[in-house]
Symmetry: C2
DNA sequence: TTGATGTATTCCCATATGGGCATGTAAGGT
DNA sequence: ACCTTACATGCCCATATGGGAATACATCAA
């Protein structure tokens, strides 16, 4: 067992740069495979495969249009990633840092080592 | 070339469930390798390797304490992930959905197909 | 029907990943 | 000095991933 199946886990699906690019392109609206292929400078089979993975994890959905197939992003599939990483946001967020200061002042605690990292 | 080096890309580093678990445990505070090993039920070499990857991408930092080595999370390394996924938040966020409605009303545009997905 | 266009799928290969096990190394204890 | 504890590394293996090329499918055109 080498790794969580790329086709089952959203985190793995999105770990591939090309797949993120695909999502980014689709974020603007529906696109057929051919468009993506041209925009990304990849081969058609390659794009189809990546789309296959994204479809498997529900990150994209497709709609047939004649002999083309239009793909679109299905954002909610990315929620788990967002939720997970959001827990660490306070580490760099100015907003949370400011809140920390306020809390420290209120409780009289010293937060001096917050960024002593 | 099979995939972006797991040791160079934060997205790949975090794609591994165990590594996310490690970060989650460290989120509560510093921990020595032994603790992590016990808490995760993994072998020590396994944990050390995962920590090695996390360290390579800057997701964790270490501090020597006698013969133990205390690891801690280095949140900012996760910012790229957060920033990327945040762009898709509006797809499921109630907050943004409400904003969309307001904007649609203001501009007179019809946003009816927003969730016609 | 025949042919062309747009996608999906299959097969093979090079590569690197994660696991298991053994070993190297450093710090403490006696 | 010697032994034990705490980690890090190295080596080997099974597996799956992504790329490349060829091919199967489906739809539309003539």
């Amino acid at each position: 067992m080498a790794r969580a199946a790329t086709t089952t886990d959203i985190f793995n699906a999105v770990a591939e740069p090309r797949r993120r690019q695909i999502l980014d392109l689709l974020a603007a609206g529906e696109l057929p495979v051919g468009e993506l292929t041209a925009l990304l400078g990849l081969t058609q089979p390659q794009v189809s495969k990546h789309l296959g993975v994204l479809r498997a994890v529900g990150a994209v959905a497709a709609r047939d249009d004649g002999r083309r197939r239009l793909y679109r992003v299905n954002g909610p599939a990315l929620k788990p990633v967002h939720d997970w990483v959001a827990r660490y946001e306070q580490t760099w967020s100015q907003r949370f840092a400011a809140l920390d200061d306020v809390l420290a002042e209120m409780t009289g605690q010293d937060g001096a080592d917050r960024d002593a990292r």
